[in-house]
Symmetry: C2
Subunit: 433 residues, 2 copies
């Protein structure tokens, strides 16, 4: 008998079917027990009398035991999902006899944050936790779908590299067959090289930042959704593709509405034009509103980004705000300065619900200007020889951006900590599980 998934049971009313999954819960009501079976796609109620339940009792099988059940599908409006299995024959495939380190279900809300992370291998089985994983998959799929439709090619670039891709700090060092190497802080150098090959490229992959600080929005390893495109007229071509990509991601997430409902998440509306604010104008607004002295600072503090997020919602009805023209002091060497005011750049951040989600901009594309910028930044040319070769031999005006997948999920789902938006987070004190 073919195994039926929980999501297929609604098409099986009246049939005797075989299901498999994990024992999520048993509720007893008089002589009847309601066994909730969880599989990879959802849950199903099995209604069992004492005789049917006997194999579970005999094996002392508790939550997370692996079961196989053969029974008849019956509609039942009071059962979760509207269906139940009756007259079941239950077989215990794997008996779990010890209690979970962190009980799943409603009890999860009371667990300590660190316990959730320490025991991720079992905690992720909770439907509310695994929904985050499923939505992450949908976001990646939407990202790729939108870019492929626009002529972008997916690439996979090396993670073990010689030079730091974003400058000297926060780099994991590695012994590479006796020579020093680093883990890529981003695919930046390689995606730019590949603009010379394919014009439009994207990558979904891990990036590594040895972040010394513990914050709710930094990870030492995270998934970066990277885009780079050639023959742009300017930064706004990049922002336009970013907007279209956000639309595609939101559309892909909308296809998973039951998961969004489960998590009480509301999808943002991507405006027809992303509201924009110049960096200095943004600082002036924050200064005016908060009384803090911020004009002249080289970057926005998280609290100021949060204030700007509120501002965008109030003034533009938008969850998104593009801040343009960041000062050159805090931007990486490859950032294109603004010819009209050279202390600022043709770069931007996208704030999503008041948190920096995306960094992007136009890049330097002329070899001489790039070499001069590297010299100013004190970046040695030798380990960058491959990168520089692309520029010696003709690079067009280009730019791109990177979306942090975990931050996107964290803000989308109002998670208190970006660690909750990844399977097995890595930070200064955590390299497990």
């Amino acid at each position: 008998m073919q195994r039926i998934r929980s999501c297929e049971v609604s098409q099986q009313i009246g049939n005797t079917i075989r299901v498999q999954g994990w024992l999520a819960q048993i509720r007893r009501l008089g002589g009847i027990a309601f066994v909730v079976l969880r599989d990879g796609w959802g849950s199903l109620q099995v209604t069992a009398d004492a005789a049917a339940l006997a194999p579970i009792e005999r094996a002392n099988a508790g939550p997370e035991s692996v079961l196989e059940v053969v029974g008849q599908v019956q509609a039942n409006a009071r059962a979760p999902g509207g269906f139940e299995l009756v007259t079941p024959r239950i077989e215990v495939l794997v008996a779990v006899t010890e209690p979970l380190p962190v009980p799943l279900g409603r009890a999860l809300a009371k667990a300590k944050p660190n316990a959730l992370l320490d025991h991720a291998p079992t905690v992720l089985r909770d439907p509310t936790r695994r929904a985050i994983v499923q939505l992450g998959a949908a976001a990646m799929a939407g990202f790729r779908r939108g870019l492929v439709a626009r002529g972008f090619t997916e690439i996979q670039t090396p993670k073990i590299i010689r030079a730091a891709s974003e400058g000297g700090a926060n780099v994991f060092a590695l012994d590479y067959f006796g020579s020093p190497a680093t883990l890529a802080q981003s695919p930046q150098l390689y995606k730019q090289i590949m603009v010379g090959v394919l014009e439009r490229v994207f990558e979904v992959g891990p990036v590594f930042r040895a972040e010394p600080h513990a914050t709710v929005r930094h990870l030492s390893e995270y998934v970066s959704l990277d885009v780079e495109m050639g023959f742009i007229e300017g930064m706004h071509d990049v922002i336009a593709v970013l907007r279209e990509t956000l639309v595609e991601i939101v559309d892909a997430l909308a296809e998973r509405s039951p998961l969004l409902e489960l998590l009480g998440a509301e999808l943002p509306v991507v405006p027809a034009r992303l509201p924009e604010l110049d960096f200095v104008a943004a600082q002036e607004l924050v200064e005016l509103a908060t009384g803090e002295r911020v004009v002249g600072e080289p970057d926005l503090a998280p609290a100021h980004e949060a204030w700007l997020g509120e501002h965008a919602r109030r003034e533009h009805g938008s969850d998104f705000l593009v801040v343009t023209g960041y000062p050159i002091a805090k931007r990486p060497f490859y950032t294109h300065p603004d010819p009209a005011r050279t202390a600022h750049t043709l770069s931007f951040d996208l704030l999503f619900r008041g948190t920096e989600l995306v960094t992007g901009g136009q890049r330097l594309h002329r070899y001489d200007e790039l070499v001069a910028a590297m010299t100013r930044a004190g970046i040695p040319a030798e380990p960058m020889a491959g990168y520089l070769e692309a520029f010696r031999f003709g690079m067009p005006p280009h730019g791109g951006f990177a979306i942090g997948l975990e931050r996107l999920l964290a803000r989308l789902l109002h998670l208190p900590n970006v660690r909750m938006a990844t399977l097995f987070p890595r930070d200064r004190t955590r390299c497990f599980p």
Copy 2:
């Protein structure tokens, strides 16, 4: 005027259009010059007289200079692609005045293999080289498409881990904020954990092997296409999904037939049932045919895999051969032994055109058996606590496989070396460009 891509020019006959790209070649014939412009999607011939060519001459702009051309589209059966731009106005956006380290085009065939790799940032621009990148993207897309359609969820698992995922050898060590860590040799441990969460998962991502030997089929960093699935009846459920996944990959590649033609590649036909051979029977065949003593060896040598590839083509008309039942001595600790003969396993390799392309099999799923296997293999339990937690709390029978993307491309395209199938290969002596 909107920029037109080379692949869109056929719809623009008679129109005056604007194109941008790289100067690939200039051929002069009397007073006329044929300028081949390459962009991210193909090439286009621009037919220019001396006056139109003047900007190129003035800038001394050689191959790989970045150009913009405005001209009229005209059909010309003798032009590459059947179209050309006439009465052009050429603008040099970036002039390249030095010769390429490795000239592109026909000259590429004469370049030394190391020169191709050393100068990948420019060499990849050659249409024959970048076609490999584009086919790699198609293979990844086909892999994902097929698995999503079968209820698999995409995951991204950590690459910085505490324990070696495939055992102690060939591991890159890392200093992780003062503690020892390693780079994941595969997502094995995590994809198994995630079977407990989502039953069916896949991952496309980098894996890291500190391979001490220089061979034509090993890389220190490569892209692994990983699959893991729960509630299997046995190893053949895994082989069935592998077969369907190969079909999806081949279908996705078939959509890029111009690239395959450019490279003279022939797609394999995936048989309705993959031919299978038991490991010992395979050794006996090799021994009989070659006279070499191989029965009793714990693994197949590359030369024997090549012979078996010929055998599969001869006997089954198949580019694929599944070899099952590998001895337990050479398989990782998580491999499920064959209950019928415990020195062998429920694992397999898939040979593609005589090279190991895929390794897979059924895994141990019972906690006690897994712990015993780890003890036998001398693997300490402490760094594996998270992995073991998944098994303490109910894991179903499961299995999976991993396809090496670069090997797939190398065999598909008859490349002499797997290094040619990746953008920027990493090996014992190469961590650049």
